[in-house]
Symmetry: C4
């Protein structure tokens, strides 16, 4: 049985609610079937993260049955949900949190078009302004890796470190996305499938036109700095 400060308990509860609720976005955008796919979120101020239980249906997810893990991927005993197994991808999420301290959320799906590119081991070229905005260039491919050790996590981290893209296509497997928090990683998963589908469909009837590197840079820079509502407390 673990005991945390009230501040950490409150932070855990907030992440449990976010993670449980954000799984509904994977369903809404058709990124998952059956019990596949998973979202996790880091607990701010603690070496902890919250992740989906393994093999549980999307209709049954609640804040209480999400699973609290240490950054080595072990379940924190005695906490709500700890009688269940965490997602079978927990080791990969944990590896990312250990090695990418700015990452606050990780998402994994087998979304159709992203997996289609991953099965060919082919990066998605940046031919859409929305892709330049969101990913700053192509979506890269990570190595083939099987579950059971750190090779998936290592592949994600090696591919995304110092890369603009918040998404990687693990070869023959599927996409992992990262973000500032769980919501940002879910947004990346949604946008990644959207661009994977659109570029696929465009290429079915010919070659999409390239966007010049300078244009990609300016679109990415502007979107990261200007889009959306002002963040309270941020410089105007």
């Amino acid at each position: 049985m673990s005991s945390f400060t009230p501040e950490i308990e409150a932070a855990i509860d907030a992440v449990r609610q976010d993670v449980a609720a954000l799984h509904a976005e994977l369903v809404r955008y058709g990124l998952v079937v059956w019990t596949g796919g998973n979202v996790s979120g880091r607990v701010p101020g603690a070496d902890l993260f919250v992740i989906k239980p393994s093999g549980v249906g999307y209709d049954e997810l609640t804040p209480e049955n999400q699973i609290l893990c240490n950054l080595d991927g072990t379940v924190v005993d005695g906490t709500p949900g700890s009688e269940r197994s965490p997602s079978s991808d927990t080791a990969a999420h944990a590896y990312v949190y250990r090695h990418m301290p700015d990452v606050g959320g990780v998402v994994h799906t087998h979304s159709t078009y992203a997996v289609a590119w991953a099965a060919r081991g082919e990066p998605i070229p940046c031919v859409l302004t929305a892709m330049a905005d969101e990913f700053g260039g192509e979506i890269p491919v990570g190595p083939f890796a099987v579950i059971g050790d750190d090779s998936i996590g290592r592949g994600i981290v090696e591919t995304l470190t110092d890369h603009r893209s918040r998404g990687v296509l693990m070869k023959n497997h599927g996409p992992f996305t990262i973000g500032r928090d769980a919501k940002d990683a879910v947004k990346a998963a949604v946008m990644l499938e959207d661009v994977a589908r659109t570029v696929h469909i465009s290429r079915q009837l010919g070659a999409p036109a390239a966007i010049g590197a300078a244009h990609i840079d300016s679109l990415f820079d502007r979107y990261q700095n200007v889009y959306g509502q002002p963040v309270p407390g941020a410089p105007a």
Copy 2:
């Protein structure tokens, strides 16, 4: 703080309701993901238009959080929603309203099949009677343009002025549609994606048969003048 006549206030309120509600049609027809896409509507009798706030989810849109803008694209201070930023595409909408006085509504999406044609920079040929009805010919491509100045708005206006089509595919970006009012522009966005998808799929297995220009003319003319219910007060 602005003050308007009661007539203008009533017109603003009506457009706020229309614009907020019409965003649901973009969701219903799968034209948008996350917070992407936007609808605006001109306020009849005033140099004003109403547009979606930037980066706000489709479930959270209300008449009150739509944003009232002047035709130069600046937010009207002190009006509901004015504490937020308007859509990042506001400058393009404003440019259209300034230069196309008959346009009462503008819609922008990244709908999949329309963007697929836009990424190749290829107009959609008119091979469907429904496309002749609605667009009177092909859907044209507008120039590549980056956000941040008037180049998107100028590209839309130059492409659609004196063109039958109410929709343009901005290269590597996506469709903009215009209409008599916001609803008409939303209908054009829905129909544009429908024809973009259908012609794409048809061409996957061979060349669609062309429709002769005279047939296109007669279909377009009839549809614009006969289809739908009689407009109250219009000539019989």
Copy 3:
């Protein structure tokens, strides 16, 4: 103002309810967008049919706003809904009812995959057992015809008379289906799009295997005579 016997009034009311409700199946299966598409049903025992009003949204359809027409396609004055215009495809439906006395329902949509075949003017080959069951062979193509006279109706009737298929792909336009009643025609519209999509997708990666004519005959014969629940009063 028309007056009918109570039996005919009851039959009209029943068809109004069926036709209004069956439009929801077009939405459910994604066969229509905006106000496109239409269902009609013949009134048993009378030279009348009921059809969707023109340009009215699918959420607004009720038994009372469906429109009662004579078999020449004119609206029966003074009946509910008669202040509105019937579907712009009414003349085609009327032509079918006049020339195919066993037809009790007609459906028209612009469903994506059926229109994709229609745009190429290519019949859908019978390569699925479900297609043999339901259509008894290929889905034929009808002639290019523009709205405004009897040429669409004539094209449907000439193509489907003495053909097993209850559906025709009107060239560059889209599918029309017929049935014993409105529900049967709607089922044919749903199944037609399903086979149009499946055969399209199969052919994207190679040639589907043909089914021999004798097998098609036996599947069609069995399905027409055995499938489903026993009809009350029918021979056992």
Copy 4:
């Protein structure tokens, strides 16, 4: 009129509830249209199974109108639902239950992508880790067989006996899946369509990379033994 022990009655009721409810998953994942498709479940401890009635809509299915059958495919007289005809695929389900004693559930659909492969008579190659997990290799093709005798059931059994895959693509027809129980067979039907779609789409733009046989073996072995929550009472 049959009479069963209370234990068997309870088991029948449980399977009726499962089978009726599981049909909703076929709708949710878009595997069926109109009244097509069917789920059945074996009654544990008895030579009985429960199956969908023929030609009845998915909105109308209840535990009480599912049909109880003997393993020869005949309806058990005097039981709820027995006044109706069982699914037209009942003989095939019965054949599977008679010849594969470990099978507790059978599902048949005409899901689009699975049928697309079946129409070409082409097995789905194992190029996704999720496919290795779930099916342990390729999805095989079964022989062309027409309804009306045991040839469909025989084709399923001959193809799946001693095969890792829980799904078979019957040529020109569609997929049948099997499982420990009805839910497991439904999961297989959902996953089969998912991999059929993803591999199809991947191959549209080039050849997916193969996964080595040793990797497939280790993924399959791990997934069958580790994934999901611990089964109560199972060895730790």
